[in-house]
Structure formats: C-alpha cells, structure tokens
Subunit: 120 residues, 4 copies
C-alpha cells in the first residue's frame, strides 16, 4: 500500500528527474534547502504574540500553509534520497520521548530530559 | 481512513495532553522548536562533502534518522495545532512548482523562477 | 586600526590553519555551521514566554551567551572567507531599512515594507 | 571607546525607538528574526558546489552580503537587548575551542570534541 508520503516522494523523484536536477539534490543541499524554507516559516511568526500565533487570520495562515508545504516537500525529498522512512523515524523518537518524559516528573514543565543511554 | 500522519498527530496530542504541555505548544513555540531541530539536522551535514552526504555511513545515517524524526514530530504537531493539512499543502506547492519550473526552460539549471501571480 | 571583529577573524584564520581545517571551511559549510548554531540559540528560547525571554535567569542567560558566541564565531569566519565586511554590510542594510520604514507610516506596526527598487 | 558593534547597537536602539518597535523586540522574537535571516543566507548557498561557494560571482556575492548584513543587525540587536557582549562571548568560546581541539589530535579531522567539563 502506498502512503501519501510515498506518493509525494515518487512525484518529487519525477519532478527532479524531468528537470535533470538530481545532481543538485545531494542530501547536503537538500538539508540546506530545508533550513532555508524553515527560516521562511519562522519569519511568519517572528512578530506575533503567542495568542496571535494561535489565531493568525486568513492571510497569515495562507502564508504559513505555503511555507509548511515547502518544508514538507524538502523533508520528504531529503528522507527519500537518504533512504529514511520519516514516519518510522518519527515514531521511534516519540517512543523514546514517551520513555524519557515520565508524565509524573515532567507534568507542566518545559525542562529538558537527559538523553536515553547510548545517545546524545 | 486515518493516514500515518494523522496517527502521529493524534499520538502527539495525547503526548502533550498527559504532560499538560499544551500551553507550551503555541504555533510560535512549535515553529521555533522545528527550527531548532532543523539546525541539529543541518549540523550532521555541515562538514561532509556532497559525495559523503550521499553515503554517510551507518553511524552518521543513524544520527540523521534521529534528527529527521525530531523534525517530523514538530512539523506534524505544528500543522495539527494550526489546522493545516501537510500533505495537501505540499501537493499544492508541488503543483505550483510544476507550473513555474517549465522543464524546457529550467532543465539542468538551479536558478529561481518568478513567483506565481498573486504570491511572493 | 584593527577592530575587534578583525582580531577575531585573524584568530579564526590561525585557529583553522594550525588544525588544517581550511578545506572544511568553504563558505557553503560555514553557512551550514552558522545555521546549526542559530538552531541551538533558538532552542534556548523556544518554550519561554516573551517576558521570560526578557529576564531569562542566570543559567539560561549563560547558555544564551555561549550560543551567541558560537554564532558570532561562524558569522565572522564566513564573512572573512567570503571577503565581506560585516559592519559595512550591516550599516548598508540599516540605511536601507531607515529609508524603507518611514516612522510616520510604520510606527507601532510590524508589517513588512516593500523592498527597495532593484532588490528583492 | 566605542566599538563599531556598540555604534550599531546604539543605532538599532534609536531605529526601534523612533518606530515604537521595542515591544516587538523581545529576545524571543529577535532570535526568531535572526533564524529567519540565517535561513535566507543559507538559501544563497544551497545549490552551489563547495567550489562555487568560494567564488560566487558578483551578483550572488552581493546577495550574500545583503543577507550577512541582515543577520548581523539581528545578532547585534538581540545581544544588546539581552545585555550580552558578543565579542567577549565569541572570545570565550574560541578560548574554549582552543583547549578542546588539540591540534595534534584534531589536525585535518572534522570530528566533534567532547564538551568542556561543566558544559554540555
């Protein structure tokens, strides 16, 4: 069964191939492009208060949606070129965070937990 | 039908709720957290050559996988809190890029295309 | 007369030279390293409220100072390798912003001004 | 004696004051703005090879200079609002790196050194 992310990855391979862009799409370059797009996304929030960010208004939300789209495209493309399954990687980290952040200890707190043994 | 990203989003809502972290998860803060994790991802590539980034070796790839997992978690959480469908947003941008980057014009070239009318 | 930034740049050239790190210090790599450090800096603020960020407390401020130091080092090194004078570049942008952001028009407002003619 | 960075900081205080922008210039927001500008800087390098980044050509260099100017402005403003001396912070980190990266051990190598005791 093909997931939506796999469909996107396949479309992105074709998109790069037909334009002969594969040589630009090294993981190094794709990581930079992802950072560039996340910068544009962050810029949409920089002057908003926390409350304004919860209810940004239609125009601002449309711009955020555009930037979220760009970020997703580069994230999917980078993971595909590297051969990493994004959903599996995310689940593994969430399982790890579930263990590290015992709700009884971290309830209502933003402090950082020590890393799991064997990681940094 | 629930997609994998929706499953992740639901798990993340529960993860935040049981720890009473919702007040920290404003879109503004989540965008910053996303930027922080993308910074960690980029750092994994910063000294690699283009070729080394294509074949990073097992240890480096494991660290990249970890960071890709972190990035995915914050991206999914941010989109969910904002009410944005990441896959739809990505498809819309890809359709837009398909129009803007005519293969006959941009084949083999990394130059940037003008934005679509009505956007920046 | 040598400025403090020029002194830093000279120390960084020596630092890289004695370790034979010049081949890693391409502008591309230095830009990535800078992005990585800015990610670490942003992470120090991600869960803070606006007010907490104004008075972060000694430990948090010490961590922010460390990250600001790292960011400054890579910024100075990148500019030096590219041959760009950071202070002149900053002044030029501030002069440009002075023109673009007429106080009578932008007082109290966070909206973005159009770019100067001939720029994007 | 006033350094060039202090002059910039003073100009930036005046720039923000006359436009009544101080309420937007929380350290949290300024860190985000800095991240946004670093994203724009990184984007200038994302498709360049290492060698192209060493000799970017006049137009690309001019755009890099502009982005370096923007990054410097937000870095100086953020440090000023927090009360951090950028040059001292940078020197302290460089001294620390001098100790951690023994040239005999790290010559020609990009691997990361352990943090100094008492830091992370």
């Amino acid at each position: 069964m093909t997931t939506e992310l796999e469909d996107l990855a396949v479309r992105l391979r074709e998109f790069a191939k037909v334009r002969e862009w594969e040589r630009f799409h090294t993981p190094k370059n794709l990581a930079m492009a992802l950072a560039g797009e996340v910068g544009e996304l962050v810029a949409e929030f920089q002057w908003l208060t926390a409350e304004e960010s919860r209810s940004p208004g239609d125009e601002a939300l449309a711009r955020m949606r555009t930037e979220l789209g760009d970020v997703t495209l580069y994230l999917v493309r980078l993971a595909d070129v590297l051969g990493v399954d994004l959903v599996e990687a995310a689940r593994a980290k969430l399982d790890d965070n579930d263990r590290r952040y015992d709700p009884d200890v971290y309830r209502g707190s933003a402090r950082k937990a020590p890393p799991s043994p064997g990681t940094t």
